[in-house]
């Protein structure tokens, strides 16, 4: 057992792609989101609680999973607004902002360990970019923004082989 140290710069990497293959960690065509301050993977089963007369505590059953990935970034101009290069990975072409306003479904992966080589674990899924709220202040000096990836479907855990 060991904790996963994220200080080396090659863990907790978010890669976006307009299809699942492009979003695989290490794919040269993927968009690696730079300047991520923090990232949270939310994998939450929906639950319904109920009470019965023969029990002093409530019970629960699960419904559907509600998954998302949330992060905070320092805004990179090209990543946020796209490079309009006609790249096959439309997230690179359009940028986070227009991909969000276009309501385009994208694929993503979050590399949990390592650099995308054999044995490394990543979480993947697909969904929509939301939660963009770029903020600038003279104290902050740079543009900051939260980002939320609202998952459409299940998150999957993959071990690189």
């Amino acid at each position: 057992m060991a904790v996963i140290n994220v200080t080396s710069g090659n863990q907790a990497i978010l890669t976006l792609g307009s299809n699942a293959a492009l979003a695989v960690p290490g794919n040269a065509g993927g968009l690696v989101v730079p300047f991520v301050q923090d990232i949270t993977i939310n994998a939450t089963p929906g639950t319904v609680r109920y009470s019965t007369l023969d029990s002093t505590s409530s019970s629960a059953f699960t419904t559907v999973n509600e998954n998302s990935v949330s992060l905070n970034i320092l805004v990179d101009e090209t990543v946020m607004f796209g490079d309009d290069s006609g790249n096959v990975n439309t997230v690179i072409d359009r940028g986070l902002f227009r991909t969000s306003t276009d309501k385009t479904e994208i694929n993503f992966s979050v590399l949990v360990t390592g650099t995308g080589t054999t044995g490394d674990i990543y979480i993947a899924g697909k969904g929509f970019i939301g939660g963009l709220a770029p903020t600038a202040s003279i104290d902050g000096a740079v543009w900051l923004s939260p980002v939320e990836l609202i998952c459409n479907g299940e998150l999957t855990q993959t071990v690189e082989s």
């Binding site: 994220v6 080396s8 710069g9 863990q11 907790a12 990497i13 690696v32 730079p34 300047f35 991520v36 301050q37 923090d38 990232i39 970034i73 320092l74 003279i138 104290d139 000096a141 740079v142």
Partner: protein, 131 residues
Amino acid sequence: MSKRTDIIGRITTNIAAHTNYSISEELPFDSGGIPLYTKNLNTIYVDQQEIAVEELYSTLDQGVVNETTTTINAYLAVDAKNQFSDIDTVVANLLIARNVITGTVESTSDYETEIAEDVITYTFEYNFITV
């Protein structure tokens, strides 16, 4: 051009109409361990700037955004008993000389005074934070 140079330029402009005062660009400004501003009253001396760099943001991909704090001190000594009538204006002009530095996150200036042997010494401190 260094911030010290910019400050000296703006002070020179700001005190141009106050002919009782002058500014020296000399470095260092001491003689035998005695600061020259205590000998040359009504002359402003600007010390070398000091710079400190701190991390403002760090990111998971080891990106770093630094903020740089530049501190500059300036000194003016005057006869405490026979101050010129425009000393308050000169002091105010020295304080607002900081406005010459642009592109800052924060820009401050203040001063302290000390009286010794009939000489009042104004010590100005300019601070500029840039990213």
